[in-house]
Each structure stands twice: as structure tokens, then as C-alpha cells.
């Protein structure tokens, strides 16, 4: 589904990703872990198309399409969705506007017409309820004045409505208490499907107790230095990142 090959990325002149290679297949949940500054957030930002990241070498393909050639909104419509570590507050833009405009944009790309109002209402209420949010959230401006937990829930809500093929979640657990994390994890787990992949970027292992990944990759200094199964995350938790760094250096 997603293939990242020998990706080199430079931010303001300094190289952050130094030859990252990663393959994610449909149905899989991958977790990228690593110490601060390793380039974890850079990877998802580049895939989503954020400004200021220069790809100097390598490629990203999604279902055979060259991602780097696609407009930001095309990527999303193709099914690549990024859940932000720090969701932006968008004063005045109601959640319901965002959700409906995004869903209709996606449907248009798929050759479907606009979603009929009653169908949209039903869908949206169901998803809001499953994230244990009140429908009043829909009338509120996107993330404005939301607590950290509410913002993250809101990101997952967007995923539930838009049903991406590849959901990338950047530090979705940061700033969450245990109850909020459970709700978020339940939301993510409900996205797991045969035809969908999920990429979790996280610093801590605790999220992976609730969303058990198929593959865990350790990102150090712009490269994936070790990959394994869920067990690797636990090992990292008990032994820290230094251990991997020493091992790979050796």
C-alpha cells in the first residue's frame, strides 16, 4: 500500500531523514518509535505534504501513485490521512463544516455525488457517539478551546468519518490521560480492517498496550535501525533507546 524508499529529507538545510525505507501493507498496523529528534514527525509531515520539507532523494508511493507529485488535498482524497500531534485551532470553522466539506471532497474524487443531508446527519451522530463526544462539538469551531484530549478525539473523529486507507497518527497519545487514551485507542482499533493500514508514530510504548501493532520500527537519526513485532516495543520500554543505538553501532 505505502512504499517509502531511501527517503532523504532536508529541513532548513539540515538533513533529518537519511535514507528511510518502509513498506506498509493493507491490513497492517505499524508503529514507528524513536527518541526525540530522530525524524518521526518529519516522515508523516512529508507524506501529508507539509511545506518546508525538501525531499532530496528517494520516493514515496501509495497504491502505485507517486505521493510527492500529488497536491495535499489529492493525497487525502486518495485515502492518506494524517492525524496531527498538535491539531491546529481553526477559529470560526465549525467541525461540521470541516467534516462535511472533507467528506464531499472525497466522494467527489470517487465519482460519488454529495452525501444526502439525512445520511450525513446519521453518519456523523453515530461517529460522534462512538468517540464519546457530545453533538454540540459539531457546532464548535475546529479545536478552538479544546482540551488536549478533545483535540485528539477530534482527529480520530475525522478519521472515522473519512475512513482513510492509510491513517497516520502522529503522537496521538501525547497529552492524554488514561481514560482519554482508551477512547482514542478504541477509535483507532475500530479503524482496523483488512483493506486499511495504520501508521502510529509514538515516543512511548504505553499506547501500544492498547493498539497492538503488527510491526514496530525504531527510528534513530533519520533511519530505521531495527524492526520487529510488538515485543520490540516492550523491550524498548524496559531497555530504552540507547540499547538499540549501541546495538546498531556495534
Amino acid at each position: 500500500m505505502l512504499e517509502v524508499k531511501d527517503l532523504h529529507v532536508t529541513v532548513e538545510g539540515s538533513e533529518i531523514l537519511k535514507g528511510l525505507t518502509l513498506t506498509i501493507n493493507a491490513g497492517e498496523v505499524h508503529a514507528i518509535m524513536g527518541p526525540n529528534g530522530a525524524g518521526k514527525s518529519t516522515l508523516s509531515a512529508v507524506i501529508a505534504g507539509k511545506d518546508g520539507y525538501e525531499v532530496t532523494k528517494g520516493s514515496i508511493t501509495f497504491e502505485g501513485q507517486d505521493v510527492l507529485e500529488m497536491e495535499i488535498e489529492e493525497r487525502a482524497r486518495a485515502g492518506l490521512l494524517l492525524g496531527f500531534q498538535y491539531p491546529v485551532e481553526i477559529p470560526g470553522v465549525k467541525n461540521i463544516y470541516l467534516l462535511k466539506a472533507a467528506l464531499n471532497a472525497q466522494r467527489e474524487a470517487q465519482g460519488l455525488g454529495e452525501i444526502p443531508a439525512p445520511e450525513f446527519m446519521k453518519l456523523i451522530k453515530e461517529k460522534v457517539a462512538s468517540m464519546k463526544m457530545d453533538t454540540s462539538f459539531l457546532q464548535r469551531a475546529v479545536n478552538e478551546g479544546f482540551s488536549g484530549g478533545e483535540k485528539k478525539r477530534n482527529e480520530i473523529l475525522q478519521m472515522l468519518v473519512l475512513q482513510p486507507k492509510l491513517a497516520m497518527l502522529d503522537e496521538i497519545d501525547s497529552g492524554l490521560d488514561i481514560d482519554a487514551m482508551k477512547v482514542v485507542a478504541d477509535g483507532v482499533n475500530s479503524l482496523r480492517a483488512e483493506d486499511r493500514a495504520i501508521l502510529l508514530v509514538t515516543h512511548y510504548q504505553r499506547l501500544l498496550d492498547y493498539i497492538v501493532p503488527d510491526r514496530v520500527h525504531v527510528l534513530v537519526d533519520g533511519r530505521i535501525v531495527k524492526s520487529g513485532d510488538a515485543e520490540l516495543a516492550r523491550e524498548l520500554e524496559s531497555r530504552g533507546y540507547d540499547w538499540v543505538q549501541e546495538e546498531t553501532a556495534a
Binding site: G49, E73, L81, L82, Y97, L98, A101, A117, Q139
Partner: protein, 453 residues
């Protein structure tokens, strides 16, 4: 004054004498003020752009116009029904300045509230009108105020006895007709709100699409102790209409005046909004939203005089300008000597959607007391690019993202609006005016539908 300017002034004065001829005698105070108004207007002429207050607003479209005075108020009931705000309300309607009883509804006002056309108020007891009328807006205020005084004969008088609460909104509707001959009107609005009375007034300017008339309005609003008045000015006049308004508010202790100046229509609009905060605890809130497109020109001048200690003012104006529209914002807050512990906040933010749109903005603070909390600021800019990016990552194309953010910008003023019918109407209008072809109106309707469930 050169000859051309002189003849412009003379044209208006000739209209006045034609109009007055054949009318019966009137109370001496009215005749005297009319004369003073005409004399003042003759001396001043129309304001030119060398005068600071009119630097950015060219009124030649008015000065060179030849405007008759309407003599009847016929209006297609079907069109009126389409233009009228669809809400349960008390309603006073004027067609080109002439009172239209058929389009008014005054039957179920609560005891203690009196809402009548100015002509009726004068006929009934002209002396009761003569005291307050012109006290706040004298002929000295501007040549337009002087011109209005020279022509004044119709308008609205609202009186609230102490303690009276009017629950339903009061709509003052001004309809502008399309016709062969452009017309002018010089309405007066006089509101006297007694102690602890409460009301919401919606001043609505709207008309037939092809209309090209001139409205020159003077409003005087007097709030007694503890009175609360919310005043909407919904400007949806046709795009060739010319509109000048001077609005003065005098506030006694603990009174609260909240203005929503929502400007969507009109070709040339100039509003002067002046609040005198004369008693402790008086509070004035000025909210404004203007959306200009084509060659619309919208000029809002506001002034708050903190004449007493512990008075409060809050001002938030937002402008969105597209095409070759021109916006002007001048907001002034003056804190008099010894007006301690006052709070005055003012902000003006503008969005320019086109390279040729223009905004001239000037917030001013004059403080002659030392224990005050004041701030003011003005920003003009483009949209938040981080927000544009965030929306695009959800599959929303760039144009729609920009449209949504523009709507959101307007939304920050509309959030303060208590009357849903007004907020939704203006939001829909803004969505519909946005330049790109996307269906934001559909989104607004969805949100409204969700609200009603």
C-alpha cells in the same frame, strides 16, 4: 466653494423649498431647526476629502445626484414579503422614507412601549418630541446631519417607560424602490429607553435590486439608568443605494448598549456611531462586520466618549473586501480627565480577498486619565496558512479551504449575535458572496438544521 459645488448644494436647497411650499404651517421650533439645518448645510456644503473625517470617502455620487422626495409608500406586497425579515416582531416600515402602514405591525406592543412614526408623534404631542430631538445630533455634527434636520419630517419614535421589557424584536424596516427618478429620504430615529427598560431594535435596510436612492439617516438613542438596548443595523440595501447615517447614543448609569452593524449592501455607506458614556457602569459594545465587493464603499466611523469613571466600551469590527471594494474604519476612544477605572477595548481586523480591494483603518485612543485599561489594534491580512494546510490535509481543496476560513472570520462577529435568524442570514449571505464556486451555503444550512434538532 466653487460654482459646481455651489450648484450641488443649491439643488438640494431648491428641493427643500419646493417640498415645503404648499405644506401647512408647523410648530415654530421645527421651522426654526429646519432653517438652522438648511443654513448650516448651505454654509458647509458637502464634505470634501480634505476634511480628515471624510478623507477616504468621496460623496460626490450623492452631491451630484438629483434626488426627489417620495410622496407615497406603495410597494408590491409580494416583494415586501420576500424582503422582510422572517421573524415574529413589531414592525414599522418606511418606503423611500414614507411611512407604510400596510407593511407595519404595531398592534401587540406591551404596555409601556410606544412605537410610532415620527409624523404621528409630532401630531400627537410635538413638544414631547422637541425636547430630545436634535439634542444629541445637532446641525453642527456634519453637513449630512444639517441636511437631515432641514428635511426632517418622518422616522420612528420608540419610547419605553421605566421597567418596560419588549420581548419581541422591533424591526424598523427601510425599503428602497427602483424607479425612473432617484429619491432621497432623511429619516429620524428617536429612541428613549426609560430606566431598566429592555428592547432589541433591528434596523433593516433593503430594497428592490435596481434601486439607486439616497438615505440620510439620523438616530438619537437615549438610555436611562440601567436600560438595555441591542441595536442591529442590517444593511442589505441595493448595490446602487447611497446611505449616510449618524447614530448617537447617550448612556446613563449602568445602561448597556450593544450594536451589531452588519453591512452587506449599499453602494456607498457611511456610518458615524457615537456613544456618550455619562454614568458609572455604562457599557457600550460595538460589533461590526462589513463585506464589500464590486465597487462597494463602506465607511464606519465610531467614537466612544468615556465621560464618567468606571465606564466600559468594547469594539470589534471585521471587514472582508473583495474586487475593488473599499473599506474605511476609524474607531476612536476618548477617556476624559478623571474618568478613572474605565475599560476600553477596540479591535479591527480586515481580510482582503483581492489585490485591488482597499482598507483604510485607523484606531485612535485619547486618554486623559491615568487609571485605565485600554487597548486597540488593527490588522489587515490574509488567511492563516497553517489553517489552510490543515483543511487541505482533509481533502478540502485550497479554494474551499480559503472560503471556509473567510466565513470563519465573519463568524467571529456573528458568534456574538443572539438572534439566530440574523446570524444565520448574514452567514448565508457571506457564504453566498464568496468568490469561488463552492457550496458553502449547503454547509451553513446543515449546521442550522443540526441546531434545530
Amino acid at each position: 466653494m466653487n460654482d459646481a459645488v455651489q450648484s450641488d448644494v443649491q439643488r438640494f436647497l431648491d428641493r427643500l423649498s419646493e417640498h415645503r411650499a404648499g405644506r401647512g404651517a408647523e410648530p415654530t421650533w421645527i421651522a426654526a431647526r429646519r432653517q438652522a439645518g438648511a443654513a448650516r448645510f448651505e454654509a458647509l456644503g458637502f464634505p470634501h476629502r480634505r476634511v480628515e473625517a471624510w478623507k477616504y470617502t468621496d460623496v460626490r455620487a450623492i452631491a451630484r445626484g438629483d434626488f426627489a422626495l417620495a410622496t407615497e409608500a406603495e410597494f408590491s406586497p409580494a416583494t415586501a414579503a420576500r424582503l422582510t425579515l422572517p421573524m415574529e416582531a413589531h414592525r414599522l416600515t418606511f418606503v423611500d422614507g414614507v411611512f407604510a402602514p400596510a407593511l407595519s405591525r404595531l398592534d401587540d406592543l406591551p404596555a409601556g412601549a410606544q412605537l410610532v412614526p415620527l409624523s404621528a408623534a409630532l401630531a400627537e404631542n410635538h413638544e414631547a418630541v422637541g425636547g430630545p430631538l436634535g439634542r444629541l445630533t445637532g446641525v453642527e455634527f456634519s453637513s449630512f446631519a444639517a441636511l437631515n434636520t432641514a428635511f426632517m419630517e418622518e422616522g420612528a419614535v420608540l419610547r419605553l417607560a421605566p421597567g418596560t421589557v419588549v420581548e419581541k424584536p422591533i424591526i424598523l424596516q427601510f425599503l428602497s424602490r427602483a424607479g425612473e427618478q432617484a429619491v432621497m429620504s432623511h429619516p429620524r430615529i428617536l429612541i428613549e429607553a426609560g430606566g431598566r427598560s429592555e428592547a432589541t431594535v433591528i434596523e433593516h435596510h433593503v430594497g428592490e435590486e435596481q434601486a439607486a436612492n439616497f438615505t440620510n439617516l439620523v438616530e438619537e438613542i437615549i438610555l436611562d439608568r440601567g436600560a438595555i438596548l441591542t441595536h442591529y443595523k442590517l444593511q442589505e440595501a441595493p448595490l446602487a443605494d447611497l446611505h449616510v447615517a449618524s447614530i448617537h447614543i447617550e448612556q446613563a448609569r449602568d445602561s448597556r448598549y450593544t450594536s451589531f452593524n452588519l453591512n452587506l449592501g449599499g453602494g456607498l455607506v457611511r456610518n458615524d456611531l457615537v456613544a456618550e458614556l455619562n454614568g458609572q457602569g455604562a457599557e457600550a459594545n460595538f460589533n461590526g462586520l462589513f463585506y464589500g465587493q464590486g465597487r462597494q464603499h463602506v465607511d464606519n466611523h465610531t467614537l466612544v466618549n468615556h465621560n464618567a469613571p468606571r465606564t466600559f466600551s468594547n469594539e470589534n469590527y471585521k471587514g472582508i473586501l473583495d474586487d475593488r471594494a473599499h473599506g474605511v474604519f476609524n474607531g476612536k476612544v476618548i477617556v476624559k480627565r478623571d474618568s478613572q477605572q474605565i475599560e476600553g477595548f477596540q479591535s479591527n481586523a480586515n481580510l482582503l480577498l483581492s489585490d485591488r480591494a482597499e482598507i483604510d483603518t485607523k484606531p485612535e485612543l485619547e486618554i486623559y486619565a491615568d487609571d485605565v485599561k485600554c487597548s486597540h489594534g488593527s490588522t489587515t491580512g490574509q488567511l492563516d496558512e497553517e489553517a489552510v494546510f490543515a483543511l487541505r490535509t482533509r481533502g478540502i481543496d485550497e479554494q474551499t479551504a480559503r472560503g471556509l476560513l473567510t466565513l470563519a472570520f465573519a463568524g467571529e462577529v456573528l458568534e456574538q449575535v443572539d438572534l439566530d435568524a440574523i446570524a444565520e442570514r448574514v452567514e448565508l449571505a457571506v457564504a453566498g458572496k464568496l468568490p469561488e464556486r463552492f457550496n458553502l451555503a449547503g454547509l451553513v444550512e446543515t449546521a442550522a438544521a443540526l441546531n434545530e434538532e
